[in-house]
């Protein structure tokens, strides 16, 4: 325990991942990873600030938090840093109107965003909605733009569901990058800006976080 004490000296906050750390998603809402419900509860009882930082881009924060609370976690929507709301800030700042290649479950996060006459594409983990038709539509939108902008909610290769490994958004982003000869802008981990925004929301400096 002394080693932990030393390691935590100066630490004021903890960022926790969700998928694959707290739980494995899947049919029926997924299953918690052993010990994680208790670990979150202990952290929250400690002097440390806690924030959840996820690349989940298939579900809205409201839906995700509902699932996690159902599994026993002490978590609220305001404690979650997720790529969809971070992308919405960027879209607004830069006057971008996205064509959304996203799962229906996360569409509500973009409810306030102007999606008419798109001048960029936002790609998220669309899961089953990664049909050829939907991919091709996003590709065509990009090819018609003079300066194609592709914003990708993460770079994940795959994730684990209870039923097995599942292709993540990064694979489909690569497909569009290659087809259009462009490079996507990533919103989500491992982007430093994304981690910084999570730290800001927690009120903790980078050197004070684990």
């Amino acid at each position: 325990m002394a080693a932990w004490g030393e390691r935590l000296a100066g630490v004021r906050g903890v960022l926790l991942d969700i998928s694959g750390v707290l739980y494995d998603s899947g049919e029926g809402g997924g299953v918690p990873i052993a010990g994680s419900v208790e670990a979150v509860a202990r952290l929250k009882q400690s002097r440390l600030k806690v924030r959840f930082c996820t690349n989940e881009s298939q579900k809205s924060r409201g839906h995700l938090v509902g699932l996690l609370r159902h599994l026993g976690y002490d978590i609220s929507e305001g404690e979650v840093t997720a790529p969809a709301p971070a992308a919405c800030l960027i879209l607004r700042e830069r006057g971008l109107r996205p064509h959304l290649l996203v799962h229906d479950g996360v569409r509500s996060e973009f409810a306030q965003v102007d999606t008419s006459n798109p001048n960029c594409v936002v790609i998220a983990d669309a899961g089953e909605d990664f049909s050829y038709q939907n991919m091709n539509k996003a590709f065509q939108v990009l090819m018609e733009l003079e300066n194609p902008v592709l914003i990708s909610l993460g770079r994940g290769r795959y994730y684990k569901e209870t039923s097995g490994l599942m292709l993540d958004v990064g694979a489909y982003t690569k497909a569009l990058e290659y087809a259009c000869g462009i490079e996507a802008e990533v919103v989500g981990k491992p982007s430093p800006e994304f981690f910084k925004s999570a730290l800001q929301q927690m009120g903790v400096e980078a050197h004070q976080a684990q």
Copy 2:
């Protein structure tokens, strides 16, 4: 015309692409590109050998030739070098049993291939069959192999149909390469082996071909 005469000095054979050169594919079998039916006819009447070298991997050679003949081209199945039959040769030579991520239209080319207990994946232009489920199945097959082998029938980014630009096999190959951390083996253009096999079938050396 003198310039052409000089340029063709020593040339004994001509390799012709099909999609985007002879015709644009699409609804109702596609449309010929202006002047190409006559150009093929003139080449065939000349002293030059003619062969067709395509990366078409959504249709069998039989189907493709049927379409082209219907559009007015003088072409037979034996004159076409295509990636699916080239892949079949490689599969046989190396004892590979593929999981096929291909369009139903080209499946007949693999009729003689053992696809039980797959030890590789063959990806072609699957078009509408590039569903998330089909992509994920191919991904899972690769991830379960100790030495994952991915054979891609071409590297094309996109092609033009009468209805617009369409994502090609190369984009989906990139997705699987990224997700699995592997590099695909390409059968089809621009692979030198593929061009060489077309020249061999035509009985012409590389320096004698255009």
